[in-house]
């Protein structure tokens, strides 16, 4: 098997045994990027020279018998939402096209000190708003299994990088399903940790009470390896939780005895593709054969998840994105031009004695804000800012925002009740396999509905993992999801590992990996 096709865990063992060097592996990944990424478009930027320099430095240390970090020289791709000091970090937005953060995100710092080789920054929906990576301000990413289809999103580049074996590991973010959904659509494993498990310091904010950083890889074992490195308390993020980080890779192989898996009947209702339903049922049968007990549970408010999410997330986004004002950093409109335009408009209104028009006329600073933002943000980001601003505006705050917060509580209460009778919840991760590029772009609401099975975990703040469980007749991956109570990543990973030991669906790479271009 080619180097790039192996799992992070296999590669790490070879690195530590001196059978392969970080430089060889990094070069192999860069070659694979060179070979396939002109078609997949997973990367916004590849940092070849810096990656090679890092790999050489790690190899040198290993050769000298000096300590090497836990990732031992493994190449990792990072979603372009995490700040990398001195190097562009754009959130796939034109707004931040020329932004060079002055510091590293805590997750980036942790990756560096664990001796990861950061090979590049991956594409995403602008500011993580979307489920197809088509909202990138630069270009869409394509699904490695079918280049006419979306890899999902918003961490579409992160998922495609692993699926097309360009990197063994990726870091993504999940606000409403943005790790789990693309993992599902790309046939890989992706984990959204419990809120507070991973630091958000230096992560470009979308919806701060929902955003969480997490790992993507080929297997649960690989995901465990990366989570171990990035998880943990950070004094720079007051919402990161001071709980010890379990050694996920150590407990992983212990099978779960007497596992109780919750199944929600409503998951199998209208809108779920029958091939997906069949594959998820088959996954449940695998668990049964491994001794798990299936428990019927109810999440009666889950069907309000999308509505709740599409109030809360845009509200938080409209507030978070207020910082992009064309003054402190990011895109700024042509000031001279807009001042001239204002003067012309003012003269015209004065000429016409249009007092109402003059009263409505923006001053130069407001105009600068408005135009800088209009030029810097894409359509979906504007839509969500508008939605959030509306829902938070005087007279609507209670009717929309506060009501959504109350339903959020009901959704959380449902989970708390369900987890009294089961350990994990098993179900679909997406209602369908990967859709065609452009298929849902004309109808924003249709794309929002894709998040149906994933948003509730973000609202409740609990963890979830997506992993492959089959292929459709059209040759597209099908994934399923496990959700667990807060801070049960160990259980999620052990359950996912059990499944992957019993099945081999996660081992097949797409044809783009195995055929010569």
């Amino acid at each position: 098997m080619r180097l790039v096709e192996q799992t992070a865990t296999q590669l790490l063992a070879q690195l530590n045994a001196g059978e392969v060097t970080s430089l060889e592996l990094t070069r192999a990944c860069l070659d694979q990027i060179h070979r396939v990424d002109s078609r997949v478009k997973a990367f916004l930027r590849v940092r070849s020279d810096a990656a090679i320099a890092t790999a050489e430095e790690i190899d040198q240390r290993r050769k000298n018998g000096q300590p090497v970090g836990r990732l031992g020289g493994l190449p990792v791709a990072v979603k372009d939402l995490l700040c990398t000091a001195g190097e562009p970090t754009t959130a796939a937005s034109r707004m931040l096209e020329h932004f060079h953060p002055p510091y590293d995100a805590t997750v980036i710092a942790r990756l560096r000190s664990a001796d990861a080789v950061i090979v590049g920054k991956t594409n995403m929906d602008e500011f993580a708003m979307g489920g197809s990576t088509e909202n990138s301000g630069f270009f869409p990413t394509r699904n490695p299994w079918d280049l006419q289809r979306t890899p999902g999103g918003s961490s579409g580049g992160a998922a495609a990088s692993v699926a097309a074996r360009m990197t063994p590991l990726s870091v993504g973010s999940d606000t409403g399903g943005s790790i789990r959904q693309p993992a599902g659509l790309c046939g890989i494993t992706g984990l959204k940790p419990t809120y507070g498990r991973v630091s958000r310091y230096g992560v470009i904010a979308f919806a701060s009470s929902l955003d969480q950083i997490g790992p993507l890889g080929q297997t649960a074992e690989d995901v465990a390896l990366l989570l171990e490195v990035i998880a943990g308390h950070d004094p720079l993020d007051s919402t990161s939780v001071a709980r010890p980080v379990p050694r996920y890779t150590q407990s992983l192989r212990e099978p779960l005895k007497n596992l109780r898996l919750g199944v929600v009947q409503e998951h199998y209702g209208e809108g779920l593709n029958h091939e997906v339903a069949a594959a998820v049922r088959e996954a449940i049968n695998v668990y049964k054969s491994l001794g798990a007990r299936i428990v019927e549970i109810e999440l009666p408010h889950a069907r309000y998840g999308i509505a709740t999410y599409y109030v809360i997330a845009p509200c938080e986004a409209s507030s978070n994105l207020a910082r992009y004002d064309g003054v402190h950093y990011g895109h700024r409109a042509d000031e001279k031009r807009l001042i001239t335009e204002l003067a012309v408009e003012r003269a015209r209104l004065e000429q016409a004695s249009d007092q109402a028009g003059l009263d409505r006329l923006d001053n130069a600073l407001v105009k600068l804000y408005r135009r800088s933002r209009a030029e810097g943000f894409g359509a979906e980001v504007k839509r969500r800012i508008m939605l959030g601003t509306y829902a938070l505006s005087a007279g609507y705050y209670d009717a929309y925002y506060v009501r959504a917060l109350k339903v959020r509580r009901l959704i959380r209460n449902d989970y708390d009740a369900a987890f009294k009778s089961c350990d994990l919840i098993v179900g679909p991760v997406t209602p369908d396999t990967a859709f065609n590029l452009g298929e849902k772009s004309a109808d924003p609401l249709s794309l929002y509905l894709v998040d149906l099975y994933t948003v509730t975990a973000n609202l409740a703040g609990i963890g979830g993992i997506a992993l492959p469980c089959g292929m459709s007749k059209a040759g597209l991956p099908i994934g399923f999801q496990l959700q667990g109570p807060a801070f049960t990543e160990e259980t999620l990973l052990r359950a996912a590992y059990m499944f992957q030991q019993a099945t081999n669906g996660h081992q097949h790479p797409p044809a783009i990996v195995t055929t010569n271009a």
């Binding site: 309000y304 509505a307 004002d325 950093y329 001053n363 508008m386 109350k406 959380r412 609401l445």
Partner: protein, 96 residues
Amino acid sequence: MTLSRADVEKVALLARLELSSAELNLLTPQLQQIVEYVESLNELNTEGVEPMAHALDVANVFAEDVVRPSLPREQALANAPHQDGEFYLVPAVLGE
């Protein structure tokens, strides 16, 4: 709730977004559709439910009141589109 084009224009000012006529025409029905969808939340009785703004029930997190190094001014200003080495520069708003 029916959203008019004028409502959307007003929200655009609050959101500090300049929207073209074409964008207003597109956004008005789109926002209307999404707002109608989220109004399904009105089906639920939420009386007496405590709003949940956050997933963690954390108390205030205090930091020690000690001076620590922060970004030097030139670094903090480095990404500003228009600055003079000391201040961010904006168009004059006073004396109009």
